[in-house]
């Protein structure tokens, strides 16, 4: 088995572009010279329903074709998700990226339960999406913001390839999406575990 393989799990809601985000990230990784796959958990997809997408990255084209149970990265695109075990299987030394206001609200009390080795990063992607007028109706599209942050934290996707793929796969407001993605890259910050809700 390939020890160099890295696995991501993304949580969001139908309509937020989570599946597209996974495909963009995979493409950006591939353009940078590694192999990547993106896929989604299939349900009766509808706007607002919880959606899970996965990304695998490896130096080898051969990868397992199974779901991801022990991700290296968990990316929570929607802070209001409930009833989903967001940190399930996250590796002890894994990384958690959440879209959240700071200081983190009461709903994130579960972060205290995580292994001390887990690094937690946060950014207010919803605010950035609103600022760039990235919404469908009342539904903020945070996918490109989160992509910027994912690229920064993982170092797996070069910004120029991320931009190339966003240009190819995002159908409207491309410049706004690129700007939002850049802000995600710049503004993501590590959360101090000791002061998590202070």
């Amino acid at each position: 088995m390939n020890d160099r393989m890295l696995e991501f799990r993304l949580h969001g809601r139908g309509g937020q572009g989570i599946v597209v985000a996974a495909a963009i990230f995979a493409e950006a990784v591939f353009l940078g010279g590694s192999y990547a796959r993106a896929f989604s958990l299939f349900g009766a997809e509808r706007r607002g329903a919880p959606v899970t997408a996965f990304i695998r990255v490896s130096s080898d084209r051969l990868m397992p074709r199974s779901r991801i149970y022990q991700p290296d990265y968990v990316v929570v695109c929607d802070p209001t998700l409930t009833g989903v075990d967001l940190a399930a299987g996250l590796k002890d030394e894994g990384t958690l990226l959440i879209n959240a206001r700071k200081p983190l609200e009461e709903r994130f009390s579960w972060l205290d339960q995580l292994n001390p080795g887990v690094k937690i990063y946060a950014l207010d992607a919803t605010d950035i999406a609103w600022k760039h007028d990235l919404a469908i109706g009342s539904f903020p599209m945070v996918n490109t913001v989160m992509l910027g942050a994912m690229a920064r934290l993982s170092g797996l996707a070069d910004r120029k390839y991320l931009e190339e793929s966003i240009r190819k796969r995002v159908s409207s407001k491309i410049e706004a999406n690129l700007a939002a993605s850049g802000e995600g890259y710049e503004l993501v910050k590590e959360v101090d575990r000791l002061a998590v809700r202070s």
């Binding site: 495909a23 796959r37 896929f39 989604s40 074709r65 779901r67």
Partner: protein
């Protein structure tokens, strides 16, 4: 000239159809096949399909329409899944009886009741006795390549061909796929030359009443044509490899030195097994690609050459009352072997996910004194 694109398995299927110089696509969308139809419709809307795109009101009509076009000598494609395939059933028989070399993609999805979207193979396997060639793919690249090869195979044998792959694990997985330019594909497969059964201005009656004896002759000729498929497929893959550098067999075996156990499976699960092999002891993989005709000779040759003691079959399907279908077919193929291996069956009916942990667990439950066990992925 080739270029990698990051696309999903459904898009790979649609692009292959477009590259193949298609005359007509008639289809009806159904999850998880929808993206194939969408992508082909998109090509048609941009004037890039190169043939007609026809949207029908049901799968039954879609395949009927394909049958008509194929009778006129056209290169024809359709795609479906699950309940859509079941709904086509009568026309599936008719198509092969009439010797229409239609290529169909079927994206595996469990059949209800109840509703389930996971990739149980029971939909395509329930069509195993309809006279269609069936080839199972383990990834998007294989889907692309196999669809092109299926047209060549199908038109040469005058038998329809079903190219099968798992819903979600392949149909919705984005990955890098090497896509040859359309002019290079043209060197592999030229315009269809199998001839028309219907000729304008020459009225006639097709496929009228036959006596039992004549029907038997026709069934036998189809059977004999299909048995030519593995050898012809090898030849087609030889040509494909010279042009594009990739080739596949009726089965693809990976046997590490000293392998005593083989894992036999078809579809996406084969790639998970392939990835796991370095972590397993004395274990190899036999990827079953061609299911109809069943490559019994090739399978027995591999099992005998490597003196395999045990086979673990991973069946993402179950013939209720008989067990996993690939295991059943394998056991039948072993008849007459001097030292047939034990056959254990991991049944992942419903489309249960195959993980490395599940493979290891199953391998640990196959003591040598047992000749045959049934294991289930979920207790």
């Amino acid at each position: 000239m080739m270029a990698f694109e990051v696309i999903n398995g459904s898009q790979a299927a649609a692009i292959a159809v477009q590259r193949a110089g298609i005359d007509l696509v008639a289809a009806y969308p159904i999850t998880p096949q929808t993206v194939i139809v969408e992508t082909l419709a998109d090509f048609a809307a941009k004037g890039e399909l190169g043939g007609e795109f026809v949207s029908l009101e049901s799968e039954y009509s879609a395949l009927s329409f394909c049958n008509g076009a194929s009778a006129a000598g056209a290169r024809v494609f359709t795609a479906t899944a699950s309940h859509g395939l079941a709904y086509m059933h009568e026309m599936i028989h008719w198509c092969s009886g009439a010797r229409f070399p239609i290529v169909m993609a079927n994206v595996n999805r469990a059949i209800g009741a109840p509703w389930c979207l996971d990739p149980d193979q029971g939909d395509s396997l329930s069509q195993r006795d309809t006279g269609w060639l069936q080839i199972y793919c383990s990834g998007a690249q294989e889907v692309f390549d196999t669809i092109l090869q299926a047209f060549a195979l199908s038109e040469e044998l005058l038998l329809p061909c079903m190219v099968v792959f798992d819903g979600f694990y392949i149909s919705h997985t984005y990955e890098a796929v090497d896509i040859p330019e359309i002019q290079d594909v043209g060197k592999f497969i030229g315009p269809p030359s199998f001839g028309a059964q219907v000729i304008p201005g020459e009225p006639g009656n097709l496929h009228g009443m036959a006596s039992a004896e004549n029907q038997q002759r026709l069934v036998r000729s189809r059977h004999e044509a299909m048995l030519r498929a593995p050898a012809l497929y090898e030849e087609i893959n030889g040509r494909y490899e010279r042009l594009f550098g990739r080739k596949y067999g009726a089965i693809d075996a990976v046997m590490p030195p000293g392998a005593r156990t083989a894992i036999l499976t078809a579809g996406a699960t084969a790639e998970t097994v392939r990835w796991c092999l370095p972590d397993l002891e004395q274990t190899g993989l036999i990827q079953l690609r061609m299911f109809r005709p069943f490559p019994a000779k090739q399978l027995c040759a591999v099992l005998e050459t490597y003196d395999i003691e045990k086979v673990l079959v991973v069946d993402r399907n179950c013939s209720i009352g008989a067990g996993g279908i690939f295991a059943q077919e394998l056991k039948s193929a072993l008849y007459g072997l001097a030292r047939p291996p034990a056959v254990h069956d991991l049944i992942l009916a419903g489309g249960v996910d195959l993980t490395g942990a599940l493979i290891k667990n199953a391998l640990s439950k196959m003591p040598l004194e047992n000749r045959s066990t049934e294991l289930w992925g979920v207790e």
